[in-house]
Amino acid sequence: MHRRNFLKLILGATTALLLEPLNALAALWNKPAFDTTKIKEATQLLGIHDEMISTDIQIIAPDRAENGAVVQVEIKSNLANTDAIYILVEKNPTPLIAHFVFSTDTEPSLVTRIKMAETSDIKVVVKAGAQFFTRSKNVIVLENGCG
């Protein structure tokens, strides 16, 4: 291999490594799904369909939240082949909160903190293979947290 070609290759590879993951990811962000004000539209835009209620999804969240600005939620899926978890809050101005994709090396569970504008169901959707499952948990919000 010519030295010039080799250098080009190295440079190309380095640039690709530095720039491509972020650019590729930025293009991935599902703007229509995050912008919509209707939960039905959000799930449709995410490609979620025919979700079945499943008790194999665990949602640990407070029954009553003093402050909707910070509501801790723990989610665990006991469904085989879980590859994605979606979190939606029905009565938030924009219901889609987050979308997580898991590799096979990652347990399909997570803990995070979300904002809730008012008393609402937290709807969790799990994608396992080609199927969708869901479970909801109601949280009473005493103080609005969406500002």
């Binding site: 909160i97 987050a98 090396d105 990652t106 969406c146």
Partner: protein, 105 residues
């Protein structure tokens, strides 16, 4: 704004538990400041976690994640000394990356 993250990765019960606390305002774009002016939206949109350079978790976030985002996730097949890295990218194109070695609990 400091882009620092607080991270911990501990091996316990056969799994590695990773806890991340990011420093970010997570502005929705709907809140007004003291002068009645809307504060522009400023929030983390994408989060990725890697284990020894291999992607293990990808997240897309909206404005509904609380200020100073917190995340716990658990990895199978990871061991003490492995490197876990987390990167975020916000809607202004700012990003931050931090890594940490897995320790015994």
């Amino acid at each position: 704004m400091s882009n620092n993250m607080k991270m911990r990765a501990q091996f316990k019960g056969g799994l590695v538990e990773v806890k991340v606390l990011m420093s970010h305002p997570m502005e929705t774009g709907r809140k007004k400041d003291d002068f009645g002016q809307l504060i522009p939206a400023h929030f983390v949109q994408l989060v990725t976690a890697t284990l020894n350079g291999k992607t293990v978790l990808e997240g897309q976030w909206g404005t509904g994640i609380a200020k100073n985002p917190y995340l716990t996730f658990r990895l199978k097949g990871a061991k003490v000394g492995d490197i876990v890295a987390v990167t975020w990218l916000d809607n202004r194109g700012t990003s931050a990356t931090q890594d940490i070695a897995v320790t015994a609990a």
